[in-house]
């Protein structure tokens, strides 16, 4: 089915709806591929984690070789639009975005968005981070470097963030101090361990982030 570009759809007027609109708070969950972002969102979300796709153009990705595009999808395990056999003609690929929701009350909703860590998806990150109050950067203690682009991104943009080391039972032991040094993390950035499969642990990560945002607010940062 073809939904080619419409004619200029013009301004969209933001209008008042009949019923009260709940306020919302948006938090990002970032980190390298396969670190547990989807798991964390799923663990705390009240809805089945939703996945939306963002079409990426070559221009958006900033590479000019379609064979690289195929490789991006393969490397990241991302959905590829269409058949890879016609990759030579392909000009877009897609990145899957995770999305979760937690209703806090009648008038307040918390939204969680998974955010790809790779630099080549930086324009998706700009879109996602718009309006976000803060971010959780999940790290795999065995692949610390994978999360560095996310940390750099939030540090550069002044987005409040914390780092949560996602560990499993079979994860080799590590010390948070060592992780902080290895990541060259600002001493003011909260760092904690978590298990993204555990609801309580994932909730604690979000609470710690919110407390961090509050303390920055109090300090006028």
């Amino acid at each position: 089915m073809d939904f080619g570009p419409s004619e200029d759809s013009g301004r969209i007027d933001v209008m008042e709806l009949d019923q009260p609109i709940p306020g919302s708070v948006k938090i990002l969950v970032a980190g390298g591929f396969g670190v547990g972002k989807t798991t964390l969102v799923a663990t705390v979300s009240e809805i089945r984690p939703l996945q939306t796709e963002e079409a990426l153009t070559e221009e958006g990705i900033g590479i000019d070789d379609t064979s690289d595009l195929a490789q991006v999808g393969d490397t990241l395990g991302l959905a590829q639009a269409g058949d890879t056999s016609d990759v030579a003609q392909k000009t877009t690929t897609t990145v899957v975005l995770d999305f979760g929701r937690i209703t806090i009350g009648d008038d307040l909703v918390l939204y969680l968005f998974g955010m790809p860590g790779q630099n080549r998806f930086s324009f998706v990150r700009d879109e996602l981070s718009s309006g976000a109050i803060g971010a959780v950067v999940l790290v795999d203690p065995q692949r610390l470097a994978d999360s560095s682009p996310s940390i750099d991104y939030f540090a550069r943009h002044g987005t409040p963030y914390l780092v949560a080391v996602n560990g499993f039972d079979d994860t080799p032991r590590y010390h948070l101090d060592e992780v902080r040094v290895a990541l060259n993390l600002d001493p003011r950035v909260p760092l904690l361990s978590c298990d993204a499969r555990e609801r309580k642990s994932s909730k604690q990560v979000l609470i710690t982030l919110l407390e961090h945002v509050m303390s920055r607010l109090a300090l006028g940062i």
């Binding site: 939904f3 570009p5 419409s6 759809s9 013009g10 301004r11 969209i12 007027d13 933001v14 209008m15 008042e16 709806l17 009949d18 019923q19 609109i21 709940p22 306020g23 919302s24 708070v25 948006k26 705390v44 809805i47 939703l50 996945q51 939306t52 796709e53 963002e54 079409a55 639009a81 897609t94 975005l97 999305f99 929701r101 937690i102 806090i104 009350g105 307040l108 909703v109 918390l110 939204y111 968005f113 879109e127 996602l128 718009s130 309006g131 976000a132 109050i133 987005t159 609801r199 909730k203 979000l206 609470i207 919110l210 407390e211 945002v213 509050m214 607010l217 109090a218």
Partner: protein, 98 residues
């Protein structure tokens, strides 16, 4: 520029203006689906996931529906990078009681 279809926020809320799609309006099947799904407000992100379409496509479809006054879009008023202490505290308490 800020309110153009391409910039519709992922958590902006969409609501239909009529209880059912107008007959003979020449809408795409997906636009009819949007009107049905948005009888109560739904975020752009959720719509996109349920429709199983790329975000950019959904934004285009929404833009046309807005132009025809078949839906309204409401930016969530607290979706701001600088929420108040009060709101943050409410979210923390809400999470604790889950």
């Amino acid at each position: 520029m800020s309110n153009r279809a391409a910039d519709l926020d992922l958590i902006a809320l969409v609501e239909a203006t009529a209880p059912y799609p107008p007959a003979g309006a020449g809408l795409a099947a997906e636009q009819t689906a949007i009107i049905r799904m948005c009888q109560s407000p739904l975020t752009v992100a959720e719509l996109t996931a349920y429709l199983d379409l790329p975000l950019s496509t959904v934004r285009t479809l929404l833009g046309e529906l807005v132009d025809r006054d078949l839906i309204v879009v409401c930016d969530s008023h607290l979706a701001s990078p600088a929420p108040s202490q009060h709101v943050l505290k409410a979210v923390i308490n809400g999470l604790r009681s889950l």
